[in-house]
Symmetry: C2
Subunit: 212 residues, 2 copies
C-alpha cells in the first residue's frame, strides 16, 4: 500500500509527521514524501527541512493521499501541477485526506465542492471561498467521496488513527495508538476556540501567523 | 533562545517534530536540528529524512535540549561524542528534556542517576539499567535538576507545552495549544498500558518494534 504525502516549502511539519507516524505502522504500507521538485522542503519557520524523496510524477496512483497544510498552501492555490496531481491521484486512491490548511488545496482542486470539510480554525472562511462547506469539527469523513479532512496541525494524528481503523480494522488502530503512546494529557484545555478564552483567541489571531 | 534537537539515524520523527512544533512558536526561539554529522537523518522506517543543519560541536550551549528517541538510541548508548555533548550542554542549559527512548541517552550520560524518569512503556526496564528510577507517567519534571522526561512518541507534545509554560508562562502556552489546535479526540482509548486490553498490549509487544 503506497501512501503519498506531498510536501512543499513553508509546510507545517506536524501536519505531515503525525499521520506519517501512524500510517507507516500499517502492515505493508510504505509512506512516500514527494514534491514537484524532490529534495529538502523547509517548514514555515525555516528551522526544519524534511526530504521529498520522489517527484509528484513518480507516484501518480497512491492508495492513500495525505495533504499537509501550512502557509505554503497559499502559493499553491493556483498551481496546476499540484492541483492536477491531486485530481488524478483521487481518481484511483482509496482515501484522499488533509490536515489543517491542506484542505484548501483539496478544495482548490475541486475535490470538496459542496462537501462539509474542515481546516485550521483560522482558515474556515478561506475554505468556504473554494467551494467547501466548512464545519468546526476535528475530523470530517465522507466514505462515499473517499475524503477525510481534519482540523489544525495536531488533528492529523486523530485523522490518521481513524483512517488506520478504516484500512486495517479497529484492533490494529488501537495497537498503533498504544505503540505511539497516544494517551494525550495536555497541561491546559485551550486547544479549540470553544475552549480557549477570548483573550487567548485574540492573542493567536493577532500574532500574524507566528502562533498558528 | 537556542533550542537544540539532536537527531540520528533510526530516530522517531514525531518525538522530535511534536516538541519542534510547540517550541518553535516561543517568542525569540530558534530550534536547531543537529547531529554528529550534519545532513539528512532517516527515521526507523527509512521512509522519512529530517535534515540536521548543524554539527553537535557548532552548538554546545543551547538554552533548551530536547532528545528524541527511536531504535537508533541503542547504538548510541556507548557513543561518547553524543553523551559528552549531552553532559556539557546540560551544564548550562535551562532545561534538558527527552521524549520516548531519548531518556535512555540522558541516563547513559549520567544525567538521570537516581532520578524518577519516564520513557516509552516498552523501555522502562532498560531505563532502570542505566540508573534512573522508571515511572509510568506521561511527563516527569525535575525543576531542581532542570530535567523533564516524557513517555512514548506523542507524549513530547504534552511535555513541550509544559516546558513552554515554564519558559514563557501559561498564557502563551495556551495560545500555542490553540495555534496547533491540540484538542485531542483519539477515536479509541488505547494509548497506554493502563487503558489498552491485554490482547492489544500483546500485539504491540509481539510485533518486534514494528508497531512501537
Amino acid at each position: 500500500m503506497k501512501i503519498a504525502i506531498p510536501i512543499f516549502d513553508r509546510f507545517t511539519a506536524l501536519d505531515a509527521v503525525g499521520p506519517y507516524e501512524v500510517l507507516s505502522r500499517l502492515p505493508g504500507a510504505t509512506v512516500h514524501f514527494l514534491a514537484a521538485e524532490p529534495g529538502p522542503k523547509r517548514t514555515e519557520t525555516g528551522m526544519l527541512a524534511l526530504t521529498a524523496d520522489l517527484a509528484l510524477d513518480e507516484l501518480t496512483s497512491p492508495e492513500i493521499v495525505v495533504v499537509p497544510g501550512g502557509f505554503g498552501t497559499r502559493e499553491l492555490m493556483g498551481d496546476e501541477q499540484i492541483l492536477d496531481w491531486l485530481r488524478r491521484a483521487h481518481e484511483t486512491s482509496g482515501w484522499t485526506t488533509s490536515v489543517c490548511t491542506g484542505s484548501l488545496l483539496l478544495a482548490a482542486a475541486g475535490l470538496l465542492d459542496g462537501l462539509e470539510a474542515t481546516t485550521h480554525w483560522l482558515a474556515l472562511d478561506a475554505l468556504r471561498e473554494y467551494g467547501a462547506r466548512p464545519v468546526e469539527r476535528r475530523v470530517v469523513e465522507h466514505p462515499e467521496a473517499r475524503i477525510i479532512t481534519s482540523a489544525g496541525v495536531s488533528a492529523g494524528i486523530d485523522m490518521a488513527l481513524t483512517l488506520a481503523a478504516r484500512i486495517a480494522g479497529d484492533e490494529l488502530a488501537r495497537a498503533i495508538q498504544l505503540g505511539i503512546e497516544y494517551d494525550p494529557e495536555p497541561p491546559f484545555d485551550s486547544g479549540s476556540t470553544a475552549k480557549a478564552t477570548p483573550e487567548i483567541i485574540a492573542l493567536v489571531r493577532g500574532a500574524s501567523g507566528r502562533l498558528a
